[in-house]
């Protein structure tokens, strides 16, 4: 396939995604967390199905599963069908999540579990586990696009460039990891500052991108691991150096505490 055609395809894709993002932004109501992540818990069946499809038909499936079929034959069908049958978990637990989510205002599962067991430690551990297990999955997405662009252009767009495109366009893997400390500590640590958040996300993300592009694995650790460590250290360190935040942080956490107490959570 001609390189120009592939570049044009990538360009059109980025353009469409950007337009959709801006349109979605205009259609957002309150701009709250629930509005952003859960569409005010009012997503219809069709958009819900499209969202599920977008999650499922990723590079993991389009590149990984095709490769697995090529390498292992019909056994890949068994793998995929068993994976697909896991949808029953959504059918069974989905309505339960929906009901308690609406009732108590949960957005994430870690939030729900932390509240349910009355333990911050549970929420933190679950959130961390989610992130850790998403690291390889996210990395596969990046690698998949890199391989695709490399393969379809006969190496004219090398694997690295393909990966850079995805890092820039999506930045899901790095972004996901380095925002963890900021998100987690936002609810629990009054001393955390905006400067700490910015430093951890920006510099942590840059570190992940650098390690990925340079192909470095210091002490054998993956880029996401180092990005995460850097994000935690930067967030805590910078927050301590900066002046303690006034007003909003106390109000935010105080409100959370009262809300949780009202709901019987410890």
């Amino acid at each position: 396939m001609s390189v120009g055609l592939v570049w044009a395809g990538v360009g059109i894709y980025v353009l469409i995604v950007t337009v959709v993002a801006f349109m979605a932004r205009g259609g957002m109501g309150s701009g709250s967390l629930v509005d952003y992540f859960l569409w005010n818990r009012d997503m219809g069946g069709i958009v819900g199905a499209l969202s599920y499809a977008a999650t499922t038909y990723s590079a993991f499936m389009l590149v990984g599963l095709a490769g697995l079929t090529y390498a292992g034959g019909v056994g890949a069908l068994g793998f995929e069908m068993v994976y697909f049958s896991g949808l029953v978990l959504v059918a069974f637990f989905g309505p339960r999540f929906l009901l308690v989510g609406k009732k108590f205002g949960y957005v994430t599962t870690s939030e729900m579990l932390g509240d349910r067991y009355g333990s911050r430690a549970v929420a933190v551990v679950v959130a961390l586990a989610n992130c850790v297990f998403l690291i390889p999955y996210s990395a596969v997405q990046l690698a998949g696009v890199g391989y695709l662009l490399d393969g379809t252009t006969g190496g004219a767009i090398p694997f690295l460039a393909g990966t850079v495109i995805v890092v820039l366009a999506v930045s899901s893997s790095a972004g996901l990891v380095v925002t963890v400390p900021a998100i987690v500590r936002a609810f629990f640590w009054r001393r955390g500052t905006a400067a700490g958040v910015l430093a951890s996300v920006v510099l942590g993300g840059a570190l992940v991108a650098f390690l990925e592009l340079a192909g470095l694995r210091p002490l054998g650790g993956a880029s996401g691991v180092w990005g995460f460590v850097a994000a935690v250290v930067l967030y805590v360190g910078v927050s301590f150096v900066m002046k303690a935040p006034e007003g909003k942080a106390a109000e935010f956490i105080g409100y959370l505490k009262r809300g949780l107490k009202d709901r019987g959570a410890v």
């Binding site: 019909v74 068994g78 069908m81 697909f84 049958s85 029953v88 059918a91």
Partner: protein
């Protein structure tokens, strides 16, 4: 609802076990389309049926 849902979860769990056991034992020597390939296709249809049975009465 609860008991019915758990029943169907149990059914699916057994199907999943079967999806591993059958192709690698009784069907391992069948190198034809009606071997493991057909078995997994039928397994998928059964899994869809279980999903349908679980969400059938759900109304929001």
């Amino acid at each position: 609802m609860e008991r019915r849902g758990i029943f169907w979860l149990g059914v699916l769990l057994m199907l999943v076990v079967l999806a591993f056991v059958a192709p690698y034992t009784v069907l391992s020597g069948v190198d034809r389309w009606y071997g493991a390939f057909l078995f997994w296709v039928l397994f998928a249809l059964a899994a869809i049926g279980v999903n349908f049975a679980i969400v059938r009465r759900w109304k929001d």
